[in-house]
């Protein structure tokens, strides 16, 4: 997609959303911006993710509403994102997933370490994994997550079968679920050599969990326990507030014979900016700032979303470094961070 095409579509989508999403129109009016006053996609007002917690931004009655997990802030603080046209969501999802998880055209058996949509009907992750599995999953694809949580016994049994059958699999789940599997396998001394071409997609971080681990260490453990090489381990970065996701480019680069690097690539219908929080201007490559996404797949709500995630530009994409920290105390005043951290 050329810059001109993207810009044309973005401005058109903005005009549409300004017209059909009353809260978004109020937001833009508050900033003195209307479709008539701007000429570039960068000028489209980006809505803070916090707004999804308080207001329905949909441009039409939604076919599906996804709700953030909101583990750290309690149920009333969950963000909601309504999708009037799931078809758009699915197209973005499938094209992007195929490009970065299945660039070799594989249709592997999928082993999913997350709840199915019946268990968590409002989870965008569960929906996403279900759609991907229905479309690309090979025979024997299944969920390893039940009412009692992760089905470790079932998973370990399947992994042993797979080892013998020599058919590659694709493991999908949250980083937290994978961590649990790794912990158990390490403790019990279990190691697998999964068939060549097997791959793994994890998503999410460890904030607020009992154990945190570096990305490098996690990749090393995936290799040690599952026998999956680093270039077949892909991290996904997605959020309920967005219709599109981002994946590590490492497997796609490997398959396409490009020199290996690891960062999140931006699909053609998305633009991601890294902004200096002080000035809201674009930062040069490598400097850490706030991530703001302009996602045409969000055409049914708001395409420009200002996140609280910090990241930096690298190559044709970006890397995420975490959630914006609160300000630490410089002086002697109590800070939000300290107050929240009190026992």
């Amino acid at each position: 997609m050329t810059e001109e095409t993207f810009e044309g579509l973005a401005l058109e989508v903005f005009a549409f959303q300004y017209r059909w999403s009353p809260p978004y129109r109020r937001f833009c009016d508050g900033r003195g911006i209307t479709p008539d006053t701007i000429t570039a996609w960068e000028q489209i007002p980006a809505v803070p993710t916090a707004a999804f917690k308080l207001v329905d931004l949909s441009c039409a009655s939604p076919e599906q509403v996804f709700v953030t997990s909101g583990t750290s802030q309690g149920p009333e603080q969950r963000g909601k994102h309504g999708f009037p046209w799931l078809e758009v969501y699915h197209r973005s999802l499938l094209a992007n997933f195929a490009a970065y998880i299945l660039p070799d055209g594989a249709r592997p058996r999928m082993l999913i370490l997350a709840p199915c949509p019946d268990m968590l009907p409002t989870s965008s992750l569960s929906h996403m994994l279900e759609v991907v599995c229905q479309t690309y999953g090979g025979d024997g694809s299944a969920y390893y997550f039940g009412d009692a949580g992760l089905d470790l016994t079932g998973l370990i049994q399947t992994l042993r079968e797979v080892e013998a059958q020599r058919q590659p699999v694709c493991l999908l789940g949250t980083s937290f679920a994978f961590m649990h599997v790794l912990d158990v396998c390490l403790e019990e001394g279990r190691r697998f050599t999964l068939p060549e071409g097997s791959r793994l997609m994890d998503t999410g971080g460890f904030k607020g969990r009992s154990r945190e681990i570096s990305r490098d260490e996690l990749l090393r453990l995936y290799g040690e326990v599952f026998g999956i090489p680093e270039s077949f381990c892909i991290n996904e970065y997605g959020m309920t507030e967005m219709g599109s996701q981002f994946y590590d480019n490492v497997l796609r680069d490997t398959v396409l014979g490009r020199p290996p690097a690891r960062f999140k690539e931006v699909p053609p219908w998305v633009r991601t900016r890294v902004l200096d929080p002080a000035t809201l201007e674009d930062l040069p490559e490598g400097e850490v700032g706030l991530l703001t996404h302009y996602d045409l797949a969000n055409c049914g709500s708001v395409m420009a979303v200002e996140t609280e995630d910090l990241g930096y530009k690298i190559g044709e994409g970006f890397e995420i470094v975490g959630r914006a920290p609160g300000a630490e105390a410089r002086g002697c005043s109590l800070t939000v961070e300290e107050f929240q951290g009190r026992p």
């Binding site: 809260p23 929080p277 002080a278 000035t279 300000a327 002697c332 005043s333």
Partner: protein, 457 residues
């Protein structure tokens, strides 16, 4: 610019040093070892004996002279502070100059006598004095350890002055946010009276070194410490002698409807209290409760406050922000912007481009912690007698309330705020200049350092 940021007994000269870079300022500090620290503390105890033999009157005069000279902008030590503190603390040069002036003003002969009087030790501590039906004698700690925190120059001074007045030697462990100011103060004390200068040592070391902390805490008769709640709990558990902890605190402003006829003036005073030290202090207000029914509405007052914040941002420019701090302000603003989108009655008054200041009107009366750096929330209250309600759950953390009300309502309001846990109530515009005799955190300063022996005859 390279500056020595320590003060040691004159005979200690053999030690390794390390350099702490702060932009174009580099501070040279000793590499502190348990042996060095032990030597220093032993020396301080001995030197303290000479301090206790001096007359109170002399010490008061010396301290007054120290602050008088630091008030003078041509004084070389004052000049060093003005030149180096912006890079070290992150405050703008204008803020540093203003802050140092304000700081020095608070320490004069009268305030020292008041402090001694408040502790009941106007006379020298050299004998038993009548107290009611018996006699009492006060003993100063031989050595007080001061553990400082934060970047606001002068935070540790009340404790240092109190210890010196009481006759205690002092070991100061400076904060990473400002290792310099206490060293300059000790240098000016030495300059004024070398013998008393020998009773104060100032050192910096990286926090969390258990071996050094053990020496500094266990060898002292009293410990005065500043820092987070967590640090206070941790230190308290390791101090066997007297522990005076000052955890992080929050302050607020309260404005009565009757003063809103001069909303611009009150807003200017309020904005000054917020802007000073970029709102980093425990005396910096996080939010303002504004009474309804005045000449302007609380929301209109928020707009006045925004204009006043803009003026103070020019007079006392804000310091630099880290990316994380800037992101925190964006996040804070975004949360309110989101509420406005949800049609809540929120108003934002913002610096037109950057993050120099932020004023938010929020009808929710819940007390709100600010992300600081000149970010303040204005909340309406139907009647000032109700202001204690939203503060109740904040009792352990409350510090000062700046108030602007008619004189006849001051007592009523003070009762409500005092009951809620506020330990200092002062006029708006004076929040950052507490008297030396203020009962910080609701406790005595000098008196809490003393140990008493009663004699019944």
């Amino acid at each position: 610019m390279r500056i020595a940021a320590y003060h040691l007994p004159s005979h200690i000269s053999q030690f390794e040093t390390e350099l702490l870079p702060f932009g174009d300022v580099t501070l040279e500090v000793p590499r502190v070892t348990p042996t060095l620290l032990g030597d220093v503390m032993q020396h301080l105890e001995t030197a303290g004996e000479r301090l206790r033999k001096r007359k109170r009157r002399e010490i008061v005069e010396i301290l007054s002279a120290v602050f008088a000279r630091l008030r003078d902008r041509t004084d070389p030590l004052r000049q060093t502070a003005e030149e180096a503190l912006p890079a070290i603390t992150g405050f703008s040069p204008a803020m540093v100059v203003h802050g140092l002036d304000l700081l020095c003003k608070g320490y004069g002969t009268d305030s020292f006598y008041e402090l001694l009087q408040d502790a009941g030790v106007e006379e020298d501590l050299d004998g038993f004095v009548p107290r009611g039906s018996h006699l009492s004698r006060a003993y100063a700690p031989a050595l007080t350890t001061h553990v400082l925190a934060g970047n606001i120059p002068g935070v540790g001074l009340p404790g240092l002055v109190a210890a010196t007045l009481a006759g205690s030697a002092s070991l100061v462990k400076t904060a990473s946010g400002d290792p310099l100011s206490p060293a300059l103060w000790a240098a000016s004390l030495s300059r004024q009276d070398p013998e008393i200068g020998e009773c104060v040592a100032v050192l910096w070391w990286r926090g969390g070194q258990a071996d050094l902390e053990a020496v500094a805490l266990e060898g002292a008769d009293a410990v005065i410490a500043y820092g987070s709640e967590k640090t206070m709990r941790d230190l308290q558990g390791r101090v066997r002698s007297r522990f005076l902890g000052h955890g992080h605190r929050v302050s607020l402003g309260v404005i009565g409807r009757e003063v809103l006829v001069r909303a611009d003036e009150v807003a200017e005073q309020s904005a000054y209290d917020v802007s000073l030290f970029d709102q980093q202090g425990c005396l910096s207000p996080h939010c303002f409760y504004v009474e309804e029914g005045g000449a302007v509405s609380p929301k209109e007052f928020a707009e006045f406050l925004g204009s006043a914040m803009a003026k103070w941002a020019e007079r006392l420019p804000p310091g630099s922000l880290t990316r994380g701090e800037a992101a925190a302000i964006r996040k804070f603003r975004a949360a309110y912007e989101a509420q406005r989108v949800a049609q809540k009655d929120i108003a934002l008054f913002l610096h037109p481009r950057g993050l120099d200041w932020t004023v938010i009107f929020d009808p929710d009366p819940t007390f709100t912690l600010s992300c600081l750096h000149r970010t303040v929330v204005v909340k309406p209250v139907p009647d000032l007698s109700e202001v204690g309600g939203p503060l109740r759950s904040w009792r352990p953390y409350l510090q000062a309330a700046g108030v602007a009300v008619a004189p006849e309502r001051t007592r009523m309001l003070a009762n409500a705020l005092g009951q809620a846990g506020v330990n200092r109530i002062c006029p708006i515009g004076k929040m950052q200049a507490p008297p030396l005799t203020w009962y910080q955190d609701g406790r005595f300063l000098l008196r809490d350092l003393l140990r008493w022996t009663d004699l019944e005859v």
